[in-house]
């Protein structure tokens, strides 16, 4: 055993682990973060994978980073600097485009060009989503109450939640129920006629899940987008200067300022458990470090079946974790470019290159992309969310050169015949080929190409099956069911062993909410 004993050890230096560590250190706990990789951040890392070109290798934008975390940890003082990512442009197959700009009037006029009816509907739709997001958003900041429990804490939580829902009124409550159960395609069909609009909106509902736009349950994730807009005043949506790794470093610096220690290159082999109580961790190199509390920022599979012996756990929990769905469905292609892509629909350099380009021309296009994946193949014509970070933060690439981040769906973890170098290459080619249909000069600009399949994501970050959210954001895995019923409050059956990763409520994206809520639960339990 090492001489120094810690109050808390956080396994995994992903952003949630770092947030949890910062909150614990802030409360005076002697805290240590252990990260297997040589750099902190988990899936929020910036790496110079080609000389002079910096990539947000995996996660690439900030959307729902909780404002309370930004304030509590004073992240701006430690380097948080979120730059505006203002537009989304969808190239259409007829050579036209559909754009959404930062100015609502411009966006409305643009929509009007395609469908005056949809332009009006969008305003009313926006208001409805606003109200539903207002009702649902408090959930992001609360420990999920279990409706099957009669404990005072759960009842109080449910009552609070019930209040939020009651305040919606019947019409909006019904709309919320639909949103929770329908497919995004069906839901959007009730509002809009423009295919590319529906496709681009529904794309946000399929990211990170193994669902298509016509799969029931995909509508709910639409709400996440509007929850981000409620924080609009706070402007926590956009591109972090220096890439997503800079956010991780910012949180780590805040944690250090409160006294937390960080060790990289320190792989935890297992959590030490004695008499049903966590006592520390053992590293892969044999070193043991003692602590009163151990937090796992890893996903539920690793937390419950790798770091501890499943024999220590109730069988139903282990069963639940085994059934918990990861099914990584997305890949990433990062390009170092000698110049800027020239999109046929909007030739030349323009504001569109400072925003997102969404390859989502129609619902059918997305659903066909899903069809390929359903039967074990990567999409021949995938959905892609493309940003050029160097257009927003020129320091991501040498002057005049660029980096392009392409989020790609679908790339199933369980590929027919498994992922090989050749299949990865073929996947990367399909992505570039698809992009070249909209920006024909792209191939001539590529200086370096990094292709990441779910298999690569798992290998590099540890995320099981390469799921970017530590498990699908599907309704049966959300809220008091995340990761499994009865163990959704960050606790585990082992005393002093806690979960703090995105595999817990509310999970997903660079939100930090799981880490914060876990730390607050721990501090409450200790008080």
């Amino acid at each position: 055993m090492s001489a120094s004993r810690y109050d808390a050890i956080v396994v995994g230096g992903g952003h949630n682990g770092l947030v949890a560590a910062a909150y614990l250190a802030r409360a005076g706990k002697k805290t240590l973060v252990l990260e297997r990789r040589p750099l902190l951040g988990g899936a929020a890392v910036t790496e110079e994978i080609f000389p002079g070109f910096k990539f947000s290798v995996f996660s690439y934008v900030v959307s729902l980073l909780r404002p309370e975390i930004i304030r509590d940890l004073d992240l701006p003082r430690h380097g948080l600097q979120i730059l505006p990512l203002e537009s989304t442009v969808t190239p259409l197959d007829n050579g036209d485009y559909l754009a959404s700009w930062s100015d609502p009037d411009e966006t409305r006029r643009e929509l009007c060009r395609h469908s005056p009816r949809d332009a009006d509907a969008a305003v009313v739709f926006g208001r409805l989503m606003h109200h539903m997001a207002m009702a649902v958003k408090p959930i992001l900041g609360m420990v999920p109450p279990d409706p099957a429990s009669l404990s005072p804490g759960d009842l109080a939580g449910l009552l609070k939640l019930g209040g939020h829902f009651r305040s919606l009124g019947p019409e909006r409550f019904h709309a919320l129920h639909k949103l929770m159960t329908m497919s995004s395609a069906d839901y959007l069909d009730e509002w809009f006629e423009l295919d590319a609009l529906k496709a681009t909106k529904s794309a946000s509902g399929i990211i990170g899940t193994f669902l298509g736009p016509r799969s029931p349950g995909s509508a709910y994730v639409l709400l996440h987008h509007y929850m981000g807009e409620l924080d609009g005043a706070f402007r926590a949506w956009g591109f972090q200067k220096g890439g997503t790794g800079a956010i991780s470093n910012t949180i780590a610096d805040a944690a250090r300022a409160h006294g937390a220690e960080m060790r990289t290159g320190a792989a935890v082999e297992r959590v030490l458990v004695r008499n049903g109580r966590a006592t520390g961790v053992a590293l892969a190199n044999g070193e043991e470090i003692a602590a009163n509390l151990v937090l796992s920022g890893l996903d539920p599979r690793l937390t419950f079946t790798r770091l501890v012996d499943p024999k220590e756990l109730p069988g139903e929990l282990v069963d639940g974790i085994r059934r918990y769905k990861f099914r990584g469905s997305s890949g990433k292609v990062n390009l170092a470019l000698a110049g800027l892509p020239n999109f046929t629909c909007m030739p030349g350099v323009g504001p569109h290159l400072r925003g997102a380009m969404s390859i989502s021309p129609s619902i059918d296009y997305l659903e066909r992309a899903y069809d390929d994946a359903k039967y074990g193949e990567f999409s021949r014509n995938p959905y892609m969310d493309i940003v050029i970070p160097s257009m927003i933060d020129p320091q991501m690439a040498p002057p005049g050169k660029h980096v392009m981040s392409i989020f790609v769906q679908y790339a199933p973890y369980h590929l027919n015949g498994g992922w090989t170098d050749a299949r990865r290459e073929a996947f990367g080619d399909a992505v570039v080929k698809t992009l070249a249909r909209y920006a024909p000069n792209i191939e001539s600009l590529i200086l370096h190409k990094q292709v990441l399949t779910p298999d690569d994501i798992e290998r590099v970050t540890g995320l099981s099956e390469g799921n970017i959210f530590q498990g699908e954001l599907a309704l049966q895995q959300l809220f008091f069911l995340r990761p499994v019923p009865r163990w959704a409050k960050y606790r585990t059956p082992i005393h002093g062993y806690w979960q703090c990763g995105a595999g817990t409520h509310p999970g997903g994206g660079i939100m930090g909410a799981s880490g914060r809520l876990a730390a607050l639960e721990i501090l409450k339990a200790a008080a």
Partner: protein
């Protein structure tokens, strides 16, 4: 007719939403985009190019040039070396501030003087009996402010001079594509930045050169809205917004001494006679009646005021410039004159005049805000200015 700046042929086509404003009788861009978010971000992240030509500019030369300026400003001219720039206020005989601006020593007896307001009459009044030439070069000279972390890289490349050696508030002569320019390490954003002074006839060519060199570094034309947010974060005061010129104030209560507007540091205690010296000496001994400080609004209290109406907090994306009362324990102790949401610091900030002794850092106060048509009070705390002061500004 409002005047247009010498850069107008290049800036005008960029003003997409025709968001113009008046600035000293000039028609200037509030923003080029409909909203200033991206332009502001450039100031703090890459480089923003801001047309500041409406500043009043004078060239003062002759044997008594130093004597004239020393008599006017509150700082000690004897210490200003060639190639150095002073930021300074100047006062009337009662020690009340007339204006603030810069004095640059161009040579042994040649100076450039800039001000927010026209200063010709005041310069001449102070020059009576002196051997000095005062030339109004306001319209003969264009000025661009290049502000942001990458401004040095762009300007070093454009001038062929390594500007790392140019210290804060120093000036050099240089050439950009054969255009003679003066480059001073100054600005109104509190960031690393430079101001570039050019003959009006070469203004367009200078603009083109800077845009071309700067594009790979993300150079972004920015308007007054973006600069206004940055200057509030930097705690920099603005004439006619945060204070009134003693030459314009209709009533005594509207006048301020340098000590009352956080410029006491610029009043020399050692130099010889100058306008307002006696009054300012007395005030220094007595302590000022007012302080000019930062206010940081509590987000939680702000959010609560909106939550009552089931609304998310609403924040303007440009700075506000109206007077808002500030109270302590129910009694008014001052007023805020401008404020903004800081996209960088993620805080609501204001600049405020507070009576002694309520301007000590950490003092808890309340700031009037309007929420859903109603007057409300948000919690606020006094902060020392500037709110934002990055190392790169002076490094």
């Amino acid at each position: 007719m409002l005047k247009t700046s010498p850069f107008h042929p290049r800036t005008a086509p960029l003003v997409r939403a025709q968001t113009w404003r008046r600035w000293s009788g000039y028609q200037m861009a509030s923003a080029y985009d409909p909203h200033p978010d991206r332009e502001y971000a450039a100031i703090r992240s890459s480089a923003a190019l801001i047309d500041v030509s409406p500043l009043y500019k004078y060239r003062i030369t002759g044997k008594d040039a130093l004597r004239l300026l020393d008599r006017m400003i509150t700082r000690d001219m004897a210490k200003l070396r060639t190639g150095q720039v002073y930021y300074t206020p100047w006062c009337d005989a009662a020690g009340k501030v007339i204006d603030d601006g810069t004095v640059t020593r161009l040579g042994e007896s040649a100076y450039r003087f800039t001000s927010a307001d026209s200063s010709l009459r005041w310069l001449h009044m102070n020059a009576v009996g002196m051997e000095v030439s005062i030339e109004d070069i306001s319209e003969k000279m264009g000025a661009l402010s290049l502000q942001g972390p990458l401004s040095r890289a762009i300007l070093s490349q454009a001038t062929g001079v390594d500007l790392a050696s140019l210290k804060y508030f120093r000036m050099i002569e240089a050439k950009i594509r054969d255009i003679p320019v003066a480059v001073s390490r100054t600005g109104y954003t509190g960031d690393l930045g430079y101001e570039i002074w050019v003959d009006a006839g070469s203004a367009v060519a200078l603009w083109d050169a800077l845009i071309e060199t700067g594009t790979p570094y993300g150079i972004t034309p920015a308007g007054v809205w973006a600069m206004d947010i940055a200057r509030i974060e930097a705690g920099l005061i603005m004439l006619d917004v945060d204070y009134f010129s003693s030459h314009h104030a209709l009533i005594e209560a509207r006048k301020s001494t340098p000590y009352e507007i956080n410029l006491g540091w610029a009043v020399s205690a050692e130099k010889g006679p100058f306008n307002g010296r006696r009054a300012l000496e007395a005030e220094r001994k007595r302590g000022p009646a007012w302080g000019f400080v930062g206010l940081e609004v509590s987000w939680d209290s702000f959010e609560r005021l909106y939550a009552v109406h089931k609304l998310p907090p609403k924040i303007p994306n440009i700075a506000w410039r109206v007077s808002a009362p500030v109270t302590r324990e129910g009694r008014q102790v001052g007023y805020a004159t401008s404020g903004c949401w800081s996209p960088l610091l993620k805080k609501s900030l204001a600049l405020a005049h507070l009576r002694a002794p309520h301007f000590e850092a950490g003092t808890r106060l309340k700031l009037e805000v309007t929420v859903e048509h109603r007057r409300e009070w948000a919690d606020a705390v006094v902060r020392k200015l500037p709110f934002f002061d990055p190392e790169r500004k002076k490094a």
